[in-house]
């Protein structure tokens, strides 16, 4: 059977989407386990260890538990929005993976196999989807008709809007260096001399990296910026009224967002799928090895970011709300602007 170009493109795209989705969701489940395990070890206890060897089947058990729980909907809730909110949150969290190139350019039948979509405004697409993701949290709190949920979602919304500015501005330096918004181009600029040409070191974007890291923690509502779900004051924040699979969707969205943020940080500051040793390592002659090795580097970098996330959560106490706001507006934003000015000055003088 002979397929036309469009048919091969369609079939390969569907294949890519299914594989990436399955891997991402598995990664989400195991990030939860990783977090519980590492957090446990940091607090000098074992973490989950009963289900399967070393507790490796714990995500499966959690999934079954959440699936079988009773699905409650409060009587006074705004039904359609209450149902839509977790769907919006999870969809937005998963869609942004679509523009992430997670391997070197490897073409099979003219289709790039290691990126679902190579968009020429990839970075803006990711920012756009993140900014849409707020609706999930905002609507969940409002539609639950519960004061704790509303307070949580108000906090989350204002926090995400405030830190989005610092996040976007911190990326401008990287874009200036590569002169493109396509993620493949941004990676290509950093892959010439290994570690030394990464934006983090060779590009002198460590200030931007720091700002991005802080803003990303706030965007994903993670410790030390997890005020929207501060359990000591707001019960569980915006998902107080959610149970069963609807709660699981919020939970998955949070971890999927973590993975996306880690992917973006890897691509923009750590050279994405390129090797940190540059030309010191010989390029493998085996074509399968040459295709798999970049994916290995990419996954390793993302994994390092996830570990950093967990480490920070185990170490730092939660911010107070006014501290959070003044940190974002009075510190991160001006520093991000100074970084843009400095980067563009240096680039203008050298160019």
């Amino acid at each position: 059977m002979h397929l036309s170009d469009f048919q091969t493109f369609l079939l390969l795209s569907i294949l890519k989407i299914v594989v990436v989705l399955v891997i991402t969701l598995t990664a989400v489940a195991y990030t939860v386990l990783l977090e519980r395990k590492v957090l446990g070890r940091m607090q000098n206890r074992w973490g989950p260890s009963r289900v399967g060897p070393f507790g490796l089947l714990q995500p499966l058990a959690d999934g079954i538990k959440l699936f079988l729980k009773e699905d409650l909907t409060p009587l006074a809730a705004e039904k359609p929005l209450f149902l839509a909110a977790p769907v919006i949150a999870l969809t937005c969290a998963l869609i942004s993976i679509a523009v992430v190139p997670f391997g070197a350019v490897t073409k099979i039948a003219g289709v790039d196999m290691f990126a679902i979509a190579d968009v020429n405004i990839g970075l803006l697409v990711i920012l756009g989807i993140t900014s849409i993701g707020v609706y999930g949290i905002a609507l969940s709190g409002w539609s639950s008709n519960n004061k704790f949920a509303l307070l949580g979602s108000l906090r989350a919304t204002s926090q995400v809007i405030s830190y989005e500015l610092a996040l976007g501005l911190s990326l401008v330096g990287v874009v200036l260096r590569s002169g493109s918004l396509r993620l493949r181009d941004i990676v290509a600029v950093q892959s010439t001399h290994g570690l030394l040409s990464w934006n983090l070191f060779g590009g002198f974007q460590f200030v931007a990296f720091f700002i991005y890291l802080m803003a990303a923690y706030a965007e994903t509502n993670r410790a030390p910026f997890d005020l929207p779900e501060a359990e000591s004051e707001l019960v569980a924040g915006y998902h107080t009224e959610y149970s069963s699979m609807k709660f699981a969707m919020f939970f998955m969205a949070e971890y999927a967002n973590m993975i996306t943020v880690a992917c973006v940080a890897t691509l923009l500051f750590l050279g994405g799928p390129s090797s940190p040793f540059g030309s010191l390592l010989p390029t493998p002659s085996n074509s399968i090895l040459a295709a798999v090795l970049p994916i290995f580097w990419f996954v390793l970098k993302v994994f390092a970011f996830l570990m950093l996330y967990i480490w920070v959560r185990a170490t730092l106490p939660r911010f107070r709300y006014d501290q959070l706001m003044s940190f974002g507006w009075k510190f991160l934003l001006p520093v991000a602007m100074l970084n843009i000015i400095a980067t563009s000055l240096v680039l203008a003088l050298r160019g």
């Binding site: 968009v119 405004i121 920012l127 756009g128 609507l139 809007i161």
Partner: protein, 168 residues
């Protein structure tokens, strides 16, 4: 492909706009407006203006409409009462809307040749860099108006802060 996208998202935009008018709860209206903005973004993208599409999503649906929803949530605005509207609106509005509709369709129909001949191939095949073109216009050809607009917005922000500040 482009025609299919235009029909789907054009219809979605119109449906969102009609739903925006018919909904009685402010939050539902705000969300329909988000649907309109997103469909417009898809239309821009299908016309080869990918930067405009991304800006539309980030600025309008991601920032402005989130603030709308935020304010509706914060004020806990309830459902609106449905009224019959004022008599003046009927007498002035209906003929006015008809006149504008007639005028617009007249202009579009008489100039349809000029609209139809816009060449988009270089945009759609990415031989022309959209962002580079926009920045050329914005930071070279129209630098002064651009900076004046920024200052205008800055003044507006300062005015809002002054108005919102409590009297000591």
């Amino acid at each position: 492909m482009q025609l299919a996208l235009f029909i789907i998202f054009g219809l979605l935009a119109v449906a969102g706009a009609i739903n925006f008018l018919l909904q009685r709860h402010p939050i539902n209206s705000a969300l329909s407006l988000v649907v309109v903005m997103m469909s417009l973004a898809v239309l821009y993208w299908s016309l080869g203006a990918e930067f405009l599409a991304a800006a539309q999503v980030i600025v309008y649906s991601g920032a402005i409409m989130v603030l709308f929803v935020f304010v509706v949530m914060l004020l806990n605005a309830g459902e609106e009462e449905r009224t019959h509207g004022s008599r003046a609106a009927y007498f002035a509005g209906v003929p006015g809307a008809t006149a504008i509709f007639c005028l617009l369709s007249f202009v579009f129909l008489t100039n349809s040749k000029a609209f139809g001949s816009t060449d988009l191939t270089s945009h759609l095949t990415h031989t022309v860099n959209n962002i580079a073109e926009i920045s050329q216009v914005l930071f070279k050809d129209l630098l002064l108006p651009f900076e004046v607009t920024s200052i205008l917005i800055l003044v507006a922000i300062l005015g809002a802060v002054v108005l919102a500040r409590k009297e000591q």
